[in-house]
Symmetry: C2
Subunit: 136 residues, 2 copies
């Protein structure tokens, strides 16, 4: 029985449900930052997924990364499964710009988060809904 | 024609050549930290690999991650493709402990690197050679 970690829930806005993963927007307006969370209970490491789950995660991560870079035109995509704070397996996809406030450092713990305003969310959520409306 | 980035070359010790990737040990004794570098030229993003390359990378990353956690018994594995400084695609695999000097922060840019001594390398290289001696 899969339950989303409460911290992931609180820090994000749900964008889509894909075959394996929930697609979440991190509520930090400083970077386009999406998170894939496989709906698999008790998994903390990528290597704990079975082969078919890893294949599906690869497909979902590839489509998400390509679409995000297409939409936001960043300089680099950061993809990472860390989990030192929230151990439930989740994979960050962060569009980075040479002009963003943390560049070239990784974003985690670098700067306090800046939540989206309601107006900003009204703009970005439909854009993300459009690129994640994928026929699997 | 694949050429290893000079910074990756300088900061690491080569452990093995796998079917897709070079397996490198980051010369920082603070964490067991291995890097996979696909021998594919001009690739900076995971999604630029084709499907068969991504499948092989998944296999190599899974085996490396599982073996590292088996050998070093860490609390968490960090897996990440960042590339903000060195854009050539490379995937970090870092064994983390709740007692390591950067925990729970990510390791990048947190603390100056601590190169292995010659004696330490003589111990760790054969251990890593053993777990990466895999029949593909």
């Amino acid at each position: 029985m899969f339950t989303m970690d409460s911290r992931l829930n609180n820090d994000t806005v749900k964008i889509a449900s894909w075959p394996l993963c929930e697609v979440l927007l991190m509520n930090d307006a400083q970077y386009p930052w999406l998170i894939l969370v496989p709906r698999v209970s008790e998994v903390t490491e990528l290597f704990q997924l079975d082969k078919s789950q890893r294949e599906q995660l690869d497909a979902e991560s590839t489509i998400l990364g390509k679409s995000l870079m297409g939409l936001f035109g960043g300089d680099k995509l950061n993809v990472a499964a860390l989990g030192n704070v929230v151990s439930q397996l989740h994979i960050h996809h962060i569009v980075r710009y040479q002009t963003d406030p943390a560049w070239p450092a990784p974003v985690w713990g670098k700067l306090p988060g800046v939540p989206y305003t309601a107006q900003e969310l009204e703009l970005v959520i439909p854009q993300l809904a459009a690129i994640t409306d994928y026929s699997w």
